[in-house]
């Protein structure tokens, strides 16, 4: 089997981004909480996902279902998101300036995620509070579902949403990660 020289492979991937041919470009980014798959489209950040224990092929299929089949690993496409995540974990960034691509999400989900994005660094809100801000005070459980399926964790900070008794409750990346993120933000000492 002929292996592709690294330079040749990289130059194809860069040319694909430069020619604007991708439905979504992605890369796996190393962070203090482990490798994250980050995917970007021409509309903005499409996905941040905890790669541990997930099937990479299934991740790509999932991106292709949402954005289209032209999905390619392309570090250059995610450079801005990568930099902002580095800054966040490095302690020099508290809010993200990235556009997000939430195509295909239901109207209530969009309202919840929009309110979620306003919960600032170092603060928390309860599921019920977030439901109220999204216009459905009784929908705490539905808000929990939205948090569980958040396509852009960390940037859309579902780790800042906790139970009404202050317990961490749950996190798609695992409770330890949620605790680690809240400790990073000074919520937990």
């Amino acid at each position: 089997m002929t292996t592709i020289p690294t330079d040749l492979d990289r130059s194809f991937r860069e040319a694909a981004v430069a020619a604007d041919l991708l439905d979504a470009g992605y890369d796996v980014v190393d962070t203090p909480i482990g490798p994250l798959l980050v995917a970007v489209t021409d509309r903005g950040l499409l996905r941040v996902s905890f790669t541990a224990g997930r099937d990479p092929a299934e991740e790509l299929e999932s991106l292709a279902r949402v954005a289209g089949p032209a999905v390619l690993r392309a570090p250059r496409a995610v450079a801005a998101a990568h930099r902002e995540l580095d800054e966040y974990f490095g302690g020099t960034r508290r809010a993200f300036d990235l556009e997000v691509d939430l195509r295909g999400q239901a109207p209530f989900t969009l309202r919840v995620l929009d309110e979620l994005a306003r919960v600032p660094f170092g603060a928390t809100a309860t599921y019920g509070e977030l439901a109220g801000r999204a216009g459905r005070p009784a929908a705490a459980r539905a808000v929990g579902m939205v948090m569980n399926r958040n396509p852009i964790p960390i940037v859309l900070p579902c780790h800042r949403i906790v139970g009404s008794n202050g317990s961490l409750t749950g996190y798609a990346g695992g409770l330890e990660l949620k605790e680690q993120l809240l400790r990073h933000e000074g919520v937990i000492l």
């Binding site: 089997m1 002929t2 292996t3 592709i4 020289p5 040749l8 492979d9 130059s11 194809f12 040319a15 694909a16 020619a19 041919l21 991708l22 439905d23 092929a57 790509l60 299929e61 991106l63 292709a64 289209g68 089949p69 032209a70 999905v71 390619l72 690993r73």
Partner: protein, 155 residues
């Protein structure tokens, strides 16, 4: 679980599965020095056409046909004669290509490619056009004039 071959895979999976063979093919046809540019050109053409594919069958044959077109263009740009017929990719799992080969060996390159892709691999004209670097209409014309030529020769 059986993989659904009609589904169009994410480009990354298609690229990583076939890039090595495409590079080997281009090196055989063009030499190592010119193969790199042709490699990039082949995959950019495939990527440009990828969103128009109707199904994911015969993607390997499809990209090797694009690579064949790129080698022809490379020879042409260099002013080199194209005295030999371009080598169409063979696909071991596809007897259709073998069955058509004895008929199509004598056709002009573009008609041969169009006939084999249409009738051997059952690709639609959008896919054939992308492989040949032409329009769907031109691909349809190439296939039908190839078939006419075959009928005249093999009544």
């Amino acid at each position: 679980m059986m993989e659904d071959v009609t589904r169009i895979p994410p480009f990354e999976s298609f690229y990583t599965a076939n890039a090595g063979e495409v590079l080997a093919f281009l090196r055989r046809r063009l030499g190592s020095d010119r193969a790199d540019d042709a490699f990039q050109e082949t995959w950019l053409r495939a990527l440009r056409a990828y969103g128009r594919l109707q199904h994911g069958r015969h993607l390997r044959a499809w990209v090797l046909t694009i690579a064949t077109r790129v080698t022809i263009d490379t020879h042409r740009r260099a002013g080199e004669p194209l005295d030999e017929l371009p080598e169409l990719p063979t696909d071991d799992g596809r007897p259709a290509y073998e069955e058509l080969a004895f008929l199509t060996d004598t056709l002009p390159a573009k008609e041969r490619a169009a006939v084999v892709l249409r009738y051997g691999y059952d690709l639609d004209y959008d896919q054939i056009a992308a492989a040949l670097g032409s329009s769907p209409d031109a691909a349809r014309q190439a296939a039908s004039s190839g078939v006419r030529r075959l009928r005249r020769r093999n009544p």
